[in-house]
């Protein structure tokens, strides 16, 4: 009796351990290990060869194993204003994109959450529908819309609103259009999840206590949808910082963003250590907002 109970408790503990260990194992294999490899490359010296960098563990002529760390790539990163500029621009573009996604996504999520229940799934499907086609294809489609002889200019010209084509493609504006368009579902879905959970009786209570609809929205709906706002902003902001394809295809040559700089270092300059240093710096840059978000989420969870 006792032994059996002990065994079942022990096996329960084992099961819990396995369940807990799995995600950590996953993170170790597919996140920490690759990160360490990248960090290792970042600290090595550029070399001509395959791979195009020198190992950091080397045998000297006296047969002594030495570690040769080269912080040169990180030094360049900090000294050369070019990289810092690209990072700051990336942060700004990602921040503004997240904000734009929020402004567009919030009314959408709100409308879906307030729609009759049988129609909500269809509306959510429509939000996710663009994912069924290739990401690249969708970005390319925007070139067709935004270029000088594109659909939008043709429409504006035919309406007589403009007399000559506007420069729309290869501008920062085009980058925002692309990012907002591609990442909108990541904003809408978490917002919808929190707004759908919101008990409509709370809004009735606010109205009953004298709050006009807009006041009720500001004092009840908005604060209670904060977890969704934060989750959506993180889901847009984080990938947008490192976004390469959209600025490459829609942005102008002046828009040197982190993802693009990284790509150039890696494939054009074949400077793997520099590219890796950029990647490590980008990760560190992103860990800060993620950690802040996690802290906030944890505090909310406790509350």
């Amino acid at each position: 009796m006792n032994g059996g109970g002990g065994a079942s408790i022990a096996s329960g503990r084992l099961a819990r351990l396995v369940v807990l260990a799995l995600p950590y194992l996953w993170l170790l294999l597919f996140f920490l290990l690759p990160f360490l490899i990248v960090a290792k490359i970042a600290l090595s010296e550029i070399a001509v060869g395959i791979p195009p960098y020198a190992p950091i563990l080397r045998w000297t002529e006296e047969n002594v194993l030495t570690v040769v760390l080269n912080f040169g790539s990180f030094a360049t990163l900090l000294e050369d204003g070019f990289y810092l500029d690209a990072y700051l621009r990336s942060l700004r573009v990602a921040g503004i994109s997240a904000l734009l996604c929020l402004l567009v996504g919030y009314p959408m999520a709100y409308a879906i959450a307030r729609a009759p229940e049988h129609r909500r799934n269809l509306l959510l499907l429509l939000v996710v529908l663009p994912f069924w086609t290739s990401f690249l294809l969708r970005v390319m489609a925007w070139i067709g819309i935004l270029q000088d002889q594109g659909v939008l200019n043709a429409l504006l010209l035919s309406l007589g609103l403009i007399s000559e084509p506007l420069r729309l493609l290869y501008t920062e504006g085009a980058v925002y259009v692309g990012i907002v368009y591609c990442y909108l579902p990541f904003m809408v879905l978490p917002l919808y999840a929190t707004l759908a959970k919101l008990d409509p009786v709370l809004l009735e209570a606010a109205a009953d206590l004298g709050a006009r609809p807009f006041r009720a929205f500001l004092t009840v709906t908005l604060p209670l949808s904060m977890p969704g706002i934060l989750a959506g902003c993180m889901l847009v902001f984080i990938p947008a910082v490192g976004e390469f394809v959209i600025p490459e295809l829609l942005g102008g040559p002046a828009a040197q963003l982190a993802g693009r700089v990284l790509w150039v270092e890696f494939f054009q300059n074949r400077d793997w250590p520099m590219a890796s240093a950029l990647a490590v710096a980008l990760l560190v840059l992103l860990v800060v907002p993620i950690a802040a978000f996690q802290r906030h989420a944890a505090r909310r969870g406790r509350a």
Binding site: V201, E204, L209, G210, R212
Partner: protein
């Protein structure tokens, strides 16, 4: 401050001053006329006329789907009436949005704002009125004291017990000093032990603040013990309106008689009816029902007769020597339910129907004098016979 006696002083025999509905001169505070609300094919509230007086604790009693909640939501402004008027203190409310009405509601789920503290919840309505910070703080403190929640002002709703949440909800709806306070199943979410204490306290607070309360409940006991008057609702209509005692002792329909408490209902034909009373002959078996009150239907008409189990007496048939008469039934005991404070006998009549008779347990008996399958006689005084029109 009046003593907090709870619901006890209410009931029949009050003076004119405390029972304004008996005074034809009295001006109703809330006046509903022809109030109607339809949802598609369903008429949730059908043409209701009702007067409620200042300071009342009025209960809307009914089962689910009776329209009581829709009526309450129309008073709060969450539902627009399809027809009819709502006049409160001379002011027409029907077209007014909820945030402009001098009416507040305590929601069944309490609907406390989870992201605000107790003090912020209670102060929310005052903030909407644009009151200053110090005045809000003072009014909130006063409200917290009224519901005995001093010291909990910084808590969040999730850190409160069910009873405390109920008090916060009450304080939040009272703090705006509404002309009318609506309570949707105010005790519905509380467990049984808390419910009784809260009943008395709610009545106490209502008397102290003098606010007119309208509460919706499906619990007849709650309505009976707390309310000044009860409106029994069914199918969107008012089946009967009256004091708890009136509605219980003088039901006007089969529905009301059986909805409030237990009633034995018999079908019969009126043989004699005048100011002194009525005689009804049973159509199901050989029996006569005698009533000492004026019946609502003319002679020869089919009526129903209701008798409450606690007004009946039960005796073993062997001890019975009196001749056959009115208000007397013979049968055998089929079931006995022992409740502690009383015993309910279920007596089978010759036609197969049953009569419920309750008998208080005045002495400490362990063996009941009447037991299963005993032939018994059930009798009752003529004042206990209620002749029903419908």
């Amino acid at each position: 401050m009046p003593p907090g006696n709870g619901p006890a002083p209410r009931g029949p025999g009050g003076q004119k001053g405390t029972e304004p509905w008996r005074d034809p001169e009295a001006e109703p505070y809330l006046r509903l006329r022809g109030l109607t609300r339809r949802f598609g094919e369903v008429t949730a509230v059908a043409d209701i006329d009702l007067d409620i007086y200042r300071g009342e604790l009025f209960a809307l009693l009914g089962g689910s789907g009776s329209g009581k909640s829709t009526l309450l939501r129309m008073l709060a402004g969450f539902e627009r009436p399809d027809a009819g008027t709502i006049t409160l203190d001379g002011q027409d409310l029907a077209a007014m949005p909820p945030y402009e009405r001098p009416v507040n509601m305590m929601f069944q789920s309490y609907a406390l704002f989870p992201h605000m503290t107790v003090a912020q919840n209670i102060g929310y309505g005052l903030k909407q009125e644009g009151l200053g910070r110090s005045e809000i703080a003072a009014r909130v403190a006063e409200a917290l004291e009224l519901v005995q929640l001093k010291g909990l002002d910084a808590r969040r709703p999730h850190a409160l017990s069910g009873g405390q949440r109920q008090r916060v909800a009450l304080a939040r709806s009272l703090v705006k000093r509404p002309k009318l306070l609506l309570l949707d199943e105010p005790l519905g979410a509380l467990d049984k032990s808390l419910r009784e204490a809260t009943q008395f306290e709610l009545v106490n607070i209502q008397e102290r603040t003098g606010t007119t309360f309208i509460m919706v409940t499906h619990d007849q006991e709650e309505a009976m013990t707390m309310a000044t008057r009860i409106a029994v609702m069914t199918d969107g209509r008012l089946a009967q309106v009256g004091t708890p005692a009136e509605v219980y002792e003088y039901p006007t329909s089969r529905f009301v008689a059986s909805f409030l408490g237990t009633a034995n209902i018999f079908e019969g034909l009126v043989k004699r009816a005048d100011a002194t009373g009525a005689l009804v002959e049973s159509t199901a078996f050989d029996a006569w029902f005698e009533s000492d009150s004026d019946p609502p239907k003319p002679e020869g008409g089919r009526v129903f007769v209701a008798v409450r189990p606690e007004k009946m007496r039960i005796e073993t048939a062997a001890a019975e020597t009196q001749p056959h008469g009115a208000n007397r039934l013979s049968g055998t005991v089929r079931d006995i339910a022992y409740y502690g404070d009383f015993v309910m006998y279920v007596v089978a009549l010759p036609d197969g129907s049953v009569v419920r008779v309750s008998r208080p347990t005045e002495t400490r008996i362990t063996e009941l004098p009447i037991t299963w399958n005993d032939p018994v006689t059930v009798t009752w005084p003529s004042f206990a016979t209620v002749v029903l029109a419908q």
